[in-house]
Symmetry: C2
Subunit: 169 residues, 2 copies
């Protein structure tokens, strides 16, 4: 009988999509170079003026991945600086996120469905069980930002398709 | 001890986001009426010429929800016609999808992590276990289309935010 755990529903899923985003960033960087597009035109692009730009979408997707792996594993969430200004910087952030989530012991996450999880502070404090946090909060937010990053590049003519987003698993 | 199952990782997640999309469609419909926007301008909007329009994004999000609930539950996937041409039609499709996924017995899905799942046909046939199908295929595709539907409306100036997408859970 196949069994599954909170681990198989979290870290491997984040890895799948973060690896897709890495490959998409490679394509975006090459596309900008080839077409002599200022990278900032893509990195700072927003689908609407009060939406977050591409760079923030990638940063926040990374944050939900590392936040979920850490919180489900009962660890402190590592803090990243949000100082990325190039495709190379964003790829490094994703690589750092991938290395981090891979470092969280599988056993620490495996039985986390009932773990008490708290996010935010003050009025924005939220309390979850591990499973509500992962399925109703962390994964939806993660996919929201990852997809919006994809949509920004697609809207700007990058030659990618849904296969590039889904990636390999 | 809290336990979880393939059920808690699937149907309630689809319901959360489909209910969000229902409320967002209400807002889009009201916005179009108020601003005298031809509904088709939103319903047929694409973020890039070779991307799918809004209506298809909603239809396909519904398809991944009903497909996942049916396949994980060991049932035949119901077929929908893809004949929606208005906001009301799309809301009805989501409502029908919600009613369907709610009708699949929780027990039928609960232990489906090892169930053999096949999608597509011919060269496009894919074989999964239940858990690989849900976490690496159905949920990513579902969120991809649901978020892109949101991004299309946001790009067109609809006054919504991420909270409207995440919804209540």
């Amino acid at each position: 009988m196949t069994t599954f755990s909170m681990y198989s529903a979290s870290v491997p899923v984040f890895k799948q999509i973060l690896n897709s985003l890495l490959a998409i960033l490679d394509k975006a960087e090459a596309h900008a170079a080839e077409k002599k597009i200022d990278p900032a035109a893509l990195l700072q692009f927003r689908l609407f003026p009060d939406m977050l730009p591409f760079t923030r979408q990638i940063q926040i997707a990374c944050d939900f991945a590392k936040g979920a792996a850490a919180r489900l594993g009962g660890l402190d969430v590592p803090s990243y600086e949000d100082n990325e200004v190039s495709f190379a910087d964003l790829k490094a952030r994703i690589a750092k996120t991938l290395a981090y989530i891979d470092s969280v012991p599988q056993d620490a996450i495996a039985g986390s469905e009932g773990r008490a999880i708290t996010t935010g502070s003050g009025e924005k404090t939220k309390h979850f069980t591990g499973q509500t946090y992962l399925f109703h909060y962390a994964l939806p937010h993660f996919f929201f930002h990852a997809t919006t990053a994809y949509d920004i590049l697609r809207h700007n003519g990058l030659d990618i398709g849904k296969k590039n987003f889904i990636g390999t698993y």
